[in-house]
């Protein structure tokens, strides 16, 4: 499976990529984007099977990205990995069509538990 990691922090993209490789998904093709606008372009060009996305990003944030993505008809599996942890954020993410939301800090176990249903 190809996975698109969208985060404005290069350090966090690196951590997500490294942690992802330790999950049941194992080593997979990873594509990176720095914000939602970049992410939209990468979804079109790279056709990932899953998107792992930050919430707070410059230019286009994660929820705007997800809403624009779903508006194009894309049903790609989409999960947030974010410092945002409130119920309002969780509800907003699910209403917009996210499969899961993981709060940072996260680890292999929490990432694995979140992505497993998306691998079925």
């Amino acid at each position: 499976m190809k996975v698109l990691i969208v985060d404005d922090s290069k350090a966090m993209r690196m951590i997500v990529k490294r942690t992802l490789a330790q999950t049941d998904l194992g080593r997979c093709d990873v594509v990176e984007a720095e914000n939602g606008a970049d992410g939209l372009a990468k979804v079109q060009a790279e056709k990932p099977g899953m998107v792992l996305c930050d919430w707070n990003m410059p230019e286009m944030n994660g929820i705007e990205f997800l809403m624009k993505l779903r508006a194009t008809g894309s049903q790609v599996k989409f999960g947030f990995i974010t410092s945002e942890s409130g119920q309002q954020v969780r509800d907003q993410a699910m209403d917009a069509g996210a499969q899961f939301i993981i709060t940072k800090p996260f680890n292999v176990e929490s990432l694995n538990a979140a992505i497993l249903p998306c691998l079925a």
């Binding site: 404005d8 922090s9 290069k10 966090m12 410092s83 945002e84 409130g86 709060t103 940072k104 996260f106």
Partner: protein, 152 residues
Amino acid sequence: MNIDIDTINQIIASVFEEMLTMSTEFFDAGDAASDGERVVASIRISGGLEGIVVVEAPTETAQQIAETMFATDGSRISDEEVCDAVGEIVNMIGGNIKGLSDGVSQLSLPCVSRETVTPTAEIPLTSMADVLVSGLPLKVYWHHLAEDTAAV
């Protein structure tokens, strides 16, 4: 809403230990001002909870955090990447503090700079955590500005 220092310490420990497998040890450094160059990252919480979180990492600490996050040695880490790493630390701590509030709040993007002098505090300090991260010092400040109970 009162956010005590123990809660902030738990968040800090969780960020470093759970995700970065870096040890944390909290101590009381008193009012001793930091000296030398530091990477200072801040993030604003606004809405139901109002406050500012500041992470102050001496250069060596910031470098070690970046090396851990990027899983590489110091020679391959750029100044921009060091700032990025410390910015992500304040982002995680700020996000978790924001999550303690029932009200609707927003989290800003982190702001990161290099400083050589301790800025004069223009806003009241609520809590300060002194922590050794893998044996290296780090300070975390929480400035609780106000709480809009109407938004809860």
